[in-house]
Symmetry: C2
Subunit: 388 residues, 2 copies
Amino acid sequence: MNEILLMLPGPTTADPRVLQAMSKAVVNHRGDEFGEIYTETTKLMSKTFQTKNDSYILTGSGTSAMEAAVSNLVNRGDKILNVVGGKFGERFADISKMHGIESVQLDVEWGTAVTPDLVEEALEKDEDIKAITMVHNETSTGVAAPIKEVGEVMKNHDALFIVDTVSSLGGDYVDVDKYHIDACVTGSQKCLAAPPGLAAITFNDDAWAACEKVEDNNYYLNMPKYRANGNKDPAQTPYTPSVSLIYALKAALEVLHEEGLENRIERHHTAAAASRDAVKALGLELFPDEAVSSATVTAVKMPEGANDDQIRGTMLNKYKVQLAGGQDHLKGNIFRIGHMGVINYQELAITFTALGLTLKGLGLVEDAGAGVAALANHYIKFKLLEKV
Amino acid sequence: MNEILLMLPGPTTADPRVLQAMSKAVVNHRGDEFGEIYTETTKLMSKTFQTKNDSYILTGSGTSAMEAAVSNLVNRGDKILNVVGGKFGERFADISKMHGIESVQLDVEWGTAVTPDLVEEALEKDEDIKAITMVHNETSTGVAAPIKEVGEVMKNHDALFIVDTVSSLGGDYVDVDKYHIDACVTGSQKCLAAPPGLAAITFNDDAWAACEKVEDNNYYLNMPKYRANGNKDPAQTPYTPSVSLIYALKAALEVLHEEGLENRIERHHTAAAASRDAVKALGLELFPDEAVSSATVTAVKMPEGANDDQIRGTMLNKYKVQLAGGQDHLKGNIFRIGHMGVINYQELAITFTALGLTLKGLGLVEDAGAGVAALANHYIKFKLLEKV
């Protein structure tokens, strides 16, 4: 209990089994033993993405997989629709532009979510759009976008549906096949609760067909090379992979599926709903519209009369709980509580106790225990404690 | 001793301290604690590169750093001189072409090294060449290229000198500043003896000046973003780094500098010379010209009357020693013994004992102990045992 409790939207605390897996000796990544481990890990990834497609593991951050999706699926000079409602939506637009792709930006106010109607309208306005990018869980604002409903729109359009589930997969509902997602990417260090350093990506047949028509412009992130090497026997990655982290990711996915994907997602939704109750009970305001609030990160407006250092600094230095700040223009205006991966009521109880004490110390709340009490009552109300 | 001994040109066996470092809990990569670890690791990298330049750590394989160097330093449509004498030389040419750079290829026969004169001639023939790529240690052929001597040529030319030291840094002489290298890249899993998954890169002022004139065409491998984030306080990477592997790399570099860079390089050269003696004593032929033979990997011609499975298969299955095969057109024609990182006389004694027994079993050698005897005599002759 003397370690700092990370309540961040990634990296998240890894299970000891996962950290332990990494200290196994490194094997030859061109041999049978690694081939089997890699194959099992990619199969567990496909199971987690809920897809019959093959998955691939990149040695890189979630951003590397975002770039792999965009740059392998859309040609220089072609048009892409980038939905932007936060920092990671912007990143997709920046990646597109850097690859000479014409970015048509569909902006939504930070803290709100795009609607299926807005997407449909944008697609109908411009038939040249080859693909659309969406961030499922916009970590920067704490908003979950309606990817299932947008998927219903996408199934009637030829444009590819590229979705970033970096901070949602394993913590919120992502069903790649049912949601008509053509390319889906994620990262190791968020809800999957493995250490940072790996990303995963899956393409369906439509995506691979598009990929064949796109001029290669990336070497390290070249998806046809990942596919060709994945099909070798033993299965390989095109370039030396992070062997130790693949051990860790495999262990993390095993832990995840022992809990059960559905149970885990419910646990995240409960943690999010309980956190929202706790935030409100402390007299604080949620940053996003509550209806589109994320299952994995809760973004809170900085209260009047306090600054980032007083809230997050006190939480970290006095109470050893690390929260995330706002990014870009939200810096100092919000703070964010990540409840991803292995996080459960215990960590949230510590967090909201510390937040109550911090606010009380600043004279901003009367009852220091109001937040954690609301949290407890939420867990009682939903009778979910017996499951955890 | 029941584990398979990896005698590969990467990944290499990591020191237990290095594997242990990875099981430390992951910290926030935007915080002070990580900033310090990252800064110390990049400083140790610069010390290892022997440069006053800053270094950067990429979460990716050595190939990612090769692509970062080429794509950040040469514009689409400009000319690059790619020296090609093996698979990794070819890779630089492939990367260049994939980025729309005009590749002028300076081919040397596989198993031989380029000469400073050939480089000078190629540069003088075409004044439009903006950069040259060279692989210091061509892992695929076991050849070490004369980067020091080519550096003497490069100092009189404006073209940038880009050098891949993926499988040489920490095992052979690489002095970035003295050799007039403008951009140097390496990987974690070769002579540095950390697990695979990280690469390092350093640019000098000329490289940064060129970088400013090159149009951004890479997002994940965008070097100006690495520089801008490295200059933040605390120092950061632009995208989520592989925190656990950075712990491991830092530990590996500490182990390296405790041994001393010069001592370590001498140890590698001794291992290589002793291995060459042992190979010849077993009646086998070296693949490369001996004068340019690598300090970190020994490539051996497949003896008449034996195939890859009989040699490497027996070594692996019967004697638990893993050697590397040939790549591309050398597949089945050579095998390769890596002696990188922590490898010392002990591992070589096992390896050449096993190789002698394998050859004897195939009826290809009379004296099964001739190789390991020659190895021992080399170590005695150079009185290096007391140092190890």
